[in-house]
Amino acid sequence: MSDNHKHGHHISTPAQLWAVGGALIVLTIVTVLFARVIHLPYPFNIITALAIAFTKAGLVAAFFMNLYWDVKFNLMLLIASLAFFILMVAITLLDTLYRIEVVPSF
């Protein structure tokens, strides 16, 4: 935040950007280790993989896409898109999870 604030735009320092990039690569290695070396029982393997993926996505959105310093409206747009995605999946699963025969034509 020590950089100049012409127009009030946030300018990240190279150290900040490299730290975020480094954290993303470390988390990639961690997620591969969990899947290939430390075998967690179901469903914890999926929960861990998704938790790491969402952490990485959060880092990218906050510090590469600058949502952390941006107007809150853009953050609201992203959260709204995720809310509607969850709605789409939930309504679809209400059908597909409760079918007597999965797909009759298969």
Partner: protein, 217 residues
């Protein structure tokens, strides 16, 4: 009417109050497009979720045919390219012309590396008979009658993502040639910022595709 060019910088279009409002509007427009992209890929992730809840065994068996190593390498390549595009935006903000051009070129190069690795992954699968569609699929190494369904999902999701990478390369070449003409600096770098947002989205989607397709156990 008064001549607006006397009070406005050249890059500000006449329907905006000032440079700042133009920048914020462009960025918000890009975020609305990202909402559309999240829901577009959301439909594909929805198909993935439905089929995985129906056939969990299919996913654990079929995923063994995907190469974790090259999937992980491509993840690191895309993270690296996200970093260089963020550095390109910083260079534009700091009026560092050379830094802007070099970082854009590295980003384009990394995007090409991603596609080359993807090409080798695809051609290996096609060679052993893992093709999308029940009629084309001839691979016999997976003991599941619906093995082609997993690879249908795999090819569509990674294919549409790959298409986004190709579009991204085109956009960054366009930004690069405009940057070489000296069009961008601390006063005006909106196209660099917007293209950066698009490229981070491409990275973001791969962050989910990698564990969900390659790391199933």
């Amino acid at each position: 009417m008064a001549n607006h060019s006397s009070t406005h910088p050249a890059h500000v279009q006449h329907h905006f109050v000032d440079s700042e409002q133009q920048f914020d509007s462009a960025k918000m427009g890009m975020w609305v497009f990202i909402v559309n992209e999240v829901l577009f890929f959301g439909g594909l992730f929805c198909a993935y979720i439905v089929f995985r809840t129906w056939y969990p065994d299919l996913f654990t068996q079929a995923a063994t045919q995907l190469d974790t190593f090259w999937g992980a390498v491509n993840t690191v390549v895309l993270i690296g390219s996200s970093l260089t595009v963020a550095m390109a935006i910083r260079s534009a903000q700091k009026n560092q012309q050379r830094g802007l051009e070099i970082n854009l070129l590295i980003t384009i190069a990394l995007a090409c590396v991603f596609l080359v690795i993807k090409y080798f992954e695809y051609s290996h699968k096609i060679h052993i008979g893992i093709l999308p569609g029940a009629e084309n699929y001839t691979f016999e190494g997976i003991d599941h009658p619906l093995a082609h369904v997993f690879f249908g999902i795999y090819y569509i999701m990674t294919g549409v993502h790959g298409l986004h990478v190709i579009v991204g390369i085109g956009l960054m070449l366009w930004i690069y040639f405009r940057a070489r003409k000296g069009e961008f600096g601390s006063e005006y770098y909106t196209p660099v910022e917007i293209t950066g947002l698009y490229w981070h989205l491409v990275d973001l989607i791969w962050i989910f595709l990698f564990p969900l397709l390659y790391l199933i156990e």
